[in-house]
């Protein structure tokens, strides 16, 4: 199979879905002329025309609000935020409109829209470097995906576009350049709500999200050399969330570490911990460990940024502590 980058996989998903379905439209700040801040959408306006690919004023609130309107009136808009952090600007439109209107209006509308959210700390400071998935896991009605591989980036985006619910699609900035095999089949889809077991093992369950997945796999490699075969699970989709996959793994291992780039308090790991308490307490042999962003704004200074971001060493240390 051919190998492409995560960024190319996203673009390929957009192209395929726009070709497949004329109701898919794409807009955002600088997505047309400039090709998007991370050059994901470059050349798409030439391919699909100004009606389907166009630039908007600098107002995330307006462009997400317009997407809600477009979605409930028959289009399938895909909008790009330059940084996932700008989701906070769109709060009312995302949380109260996109997330709730299908329910609030008794199913009279569907809200088939995708908001692409480049996430992750990458030397861009507190307002452009967050992984805010957990904030929106708290809101009903929103689908949330965080692909970690090029294949999932493509397959999940295509599923997201075809889904009749609003999807927040978190694409990690540091993953854009990563490469991997990606199917060319235009009907290749990765279903929402299905976790991937990236590596099998029985010593410990390491749940890793987004850019934490490649780090987790390196940790697993290192632990295997030390005789501990751990299981690495990539949830891929945070809503819907594949609880059975994690519970089954924990039944096997009894120990769990969650690695994520969200803030620790009420983060994804907190939710997983609570879920295990409710549904699988009797299988836990150790307290759950969370490797997450400490509850501080992400520093702009590079050294400090590296200090707070969960890295291989921190994940390794947490695993070792449970394996002791």
């Amino acid at each position: 199979m051919r190998t492409i980058t995560y960024a190319q996989a996203i673009k390929e998903a957009l192209e395929e879905e726009m070709r497949r379905d004329p109701s898919v439209v794409l807009y955002g700040e600088d997505v047309a002329n400039f090709g998007g801040i991370f050059q994901i959408t470059s050349g798409l306006q030439e391919q699909f025309g100004e009606d389907r690919v166009f630039d908007t004023p600098i107002s995330e609130n307006a462009l997400v609000g317009a997407a809600v309107g477009a979605a409930i009136t028959g289009l399938r808009p895909v909008v790009e935020l330059q940084f996932a952090d700008f989701l906070f600007t769109t709060g009312d439109e995302i949380v109260l409109k996109a997330g709730m209107w299908r329910y609030v209006h008794g199913g009279a509308y569907k809200v088939p829209m995708v908001v692409r959210c480049p996430s992750g700390a990458a030397g861009v400071g507190p307002e452009h470097g967050q992984c805010p998935e957990a904030f929106f896991m708290h809101s009903p009605g929103l689908r949330i995906v965080s692909p970690s591989t090029p294949a999932d980036a493509k397959g999940l985006l295509k599923s997201a576009i075809r889904d009749d619910n609003p999807v927040l699609y978190f694409e990690h900035k540091l993953l854009y350049a990563t490469k991997g095999e990606v199917p060319e089949d235009p009907d290749f889809l990765v279903p929402l709500g299905k976790a991937a077991v990236r590596r099998e093992g029985d010593a410990l369950t390491l749940v890793a999200i987004s850019a934490m997945v490649p780090k987790a796999l390196k940790v697993a490699e290192r632990l295997a050399k030390e005789g501990h075969h751990i299981e690495v699970i990539d949830p891929r989709s945070l809503n819907p969330f594949d609880r059975p996959a994690i519970i089954e793994s924990v039944k096997k291992t009894g120990k769990i570490v969650v690695a994520e780039e969200s803030y620790k308090t009420l983060g994804v790991g907190a939710e997983i911990g609570a879920m295990l308490m409710e549904e699988a307490l009797e299988y836990l042999d150790r307290p759950l460990k969370r490797v997450a962003m400490p509850d501080v704004p992400i520093p702009t200074a590079a050294v400090l940024e590296q200090f707070v971001i969960p890295n291989e060493e921190k994940i390794y240390a947490a695993c070792r502590e449970l394996l002791a």
Binding site: G254, L281, E282, Y283, L284, D285, R286, P287
Partner: protein
């Protein structure tokens, strides 16, 4: 589904047992309830029966293998079933026999048994608890290896597989000429467990011992008197009965120490140490407080016999609250015993032999013995323990509790005309106590006489005794005599009919005179109000 025969949990502290003998072989037919194998537990050998009729399809643990409680020993397949495929047919034997290296795990765990006493929270992971529950293991004695001593799944798996082994060689490496044992005797399981538990008791309990010398002359005399009446009561039974009375009066001795608390027990469960060819066994007389000396004697004899013939059941050895260890028969005069945790005390009984005692300023030779009572200093201080120690001595030196006071020693009679009456629970029953004797009255069913019947008994007895006293005074011969006393069946007492039957050669006049005198002299009769009609009739036998 095929049925698994599992290592049973036959006592609170049992974590494993040894397969002693298979009476059936794989492939043999078995009937329901038929003995399939014998296992040895901490305390006894137990025969395990087949839970159903069928075929012993597989033997999963060979003879001599130590198996954790709850793990499968064999598989019974009923007619029409096939054997399960999942069960590890041979793996288990291997695991158990190759676990010699693990002996440290259980050894270390067991020493902490006593620290983890009743009510203490067991810090175990939920997963470890689940596994322990599946395997029927008790985690209170397990030392956890996880953070802050948390008991983990691995810890549970280790105790499941661990095997008890005797201590390794003691030869010191540096010795020029190492001391080599000429042979090694493997302890029996009972001895090995006893060794472990005693070491744990000795390590955990701050012992102190109180010793007293007891003049046994009256106890021996009383016991002879009882024996003369055909009873099989031994002097040990007398000592046990005295101990029970002293325990009733000193409830803090019938207790356990537990993490800053004293656990007091209403029930007195008396452990009696019995020497058997396999080692020391301690069967228990349960609820000894409810038994008199004859009851204790019968129970003790039964238990001792069962211990010697290896017929003790685990329940016979459970829940002792106090133990008596009698080495008197072996000629030992005194010793410093070790308490069986979690009991708070243990009494050592020495040999009885003639000793010179100072009695009222004179040297007298009397049969005497020594008692050495070990106490847990966490549960009792010396002063409160001394009340118990001296009470046992006093009871044995004046054994009124045997009910032989009047003949054995008039000076020691329980006070006349004083009884205590206690209500039994919230029932319409009472317990009347007279010295060490007692009886029950009931106003709700026929399980005991009601107070009026009891009164009629007192009246009739009193009349009869008065009659005999009067007869003596008149030199009249009275042979057999009995009384029937009857009152109106319901409601207030209105009329009483008393029929005296007397065997006598005295003429009618003399007899009627005698009855008149008896009626006048009877204190009970004198108490009856005038409006209650008392009809006294006398007939000859």
């Amino acid at each position: 589904m095929p049925l698994m025969i599992q290592m049973p949990k036959l006592g609170h502290t049992m974590t494993e047992g040894t397969v002693l003998k298979w009476h059936k072989h794989a492939g043999d037919q078995v009937r329901e309830g038929e003995t399939v194998l014998t296992v040895e537990t901490d305390k006894a050998e137990i025969e395990i029966e087949s839970p159903a009729a069928g075929v012993l399809a597989r033997v999963l643990a060979g003879e001599g293998v130590v198996v954790a409680v709850g793990l499968p020993l064999g598989e019974i397949v009923r007619a029409g079933e096939s054997a399960s495929e999942a069960a590890p047919a041979t793996a288990f034997n291997k695991e158990a026999s190759s676990s010699a290296q693990n002996s440290g795990a259980l050894g270390a765990a067991s020493t902490s048994t006593l620290n983890a006493s009743a009510g203490k929270r067991v810090a175990a992971s939920p997963r470890a608890k689940r596994l322990a529950a599946e395997r029927g293991l008790d985690l209170s004695s397990v030392a956890g290896s996880g953070p802050d001593g948390l008991i983990t799944e691995d810890d549970v798996r280790k105790i499941s597989a661990a095997e008890v082994h005797a201590a390794p060689s003691i030869a010191p490496a540096a010795a020029a000429r190492p001391l080599v044992a000429s042979r090694r005797e493997k302890l029996t399981r009972i001895q090995a467990v006893g060794a472990r538990n005693l070491a744990a008791s000795w390590n955990a309990i701050p012992h102190f011992v109180q010793m007293v010398r007891v003049d046994m002359s009256r106890a021996l005399a009383a016991r002879s008197a009882i024996k003369g009446s055909g009873s099989r009561v031994t002097i040990t039974d007398v000592i046990l009965a005295a101990t029970v009375i002293a325990l009733k009066e000193n409830p803090r001795v019938n207790a356990s120490y537990s993490e800053g608390e004293r656990l007091l027990y209403d029930e007195i469960n008396l452990g009696i140490a019995v020497d058997t060819p396999d080692g020391l066994l301690v069967p228990v007389i349960h609820d000894a407080g409810a038994l008199d000396v004859a009851g204790i004697s019968a129970r003790a004899a039964e238990l001792a016999e069962r211990a010697r013939s290896k017929q003790l059941r685990p329940a016979d050895m459970e829940n002792a609250t106090f133990t008596v260890s009698n080495l008197g028969a072996a000629g030992i005069e005194n010793g410093t015993p070790v308490i069986f945790a979690p009991q708070a005390a243990l009494m050592f009984v020495g040999a009885i032999h003639d000793q010179v005692l100072a009695i009222d300023g004179r040297a007298e030779v009397r049969p005497a013995m020594q008692l050495a009572i070990a106490y847990d200093h966490r549960a009792l201080d010396g002063a409160s323990a001394s009340h118990f120690t001296t009470r046992v001595k006093a009871l044995l030196e004046a054994p009124d509790f045997l009910g032989l006071n009047a003949t054995a020693n008039p000076a020691a009679v329980t006070r006349h005309r004083e009884v205590t009456i206690d209500a039994i629970g919230d029932s319409l029953k009472t317990r009347v106590t007279y010295g060490s004797l007692g009886w029950t009255l009931s106003a709700e069913d026929a399980s005991a006489p009601d107070p009026v019947s009891s009164f009629l008994g007192a009246l009739g007895s009193c009349l009869l005794m008065s009659l005999r006293v009067a007869a003596r005074a008149r030199n009249l011969t009275v042979g057999k005599s009995s009384v029937t006393a009857r009152a109106n069946e319901k409601g207030h007492l209105r009329e009483i009919q008393v029929e005296l039957q007397v065997e006598t050669g005295a003429g009618d006049d003399k007899l009627h005179r005698l009855v008149e005198v008896a009626e006048r002299g009877c204190h009970i009769r004198a108490m009856i109000r005038d409006e209650i009609a008392v009809a006294l009739k006398v007939t000859r036998i």
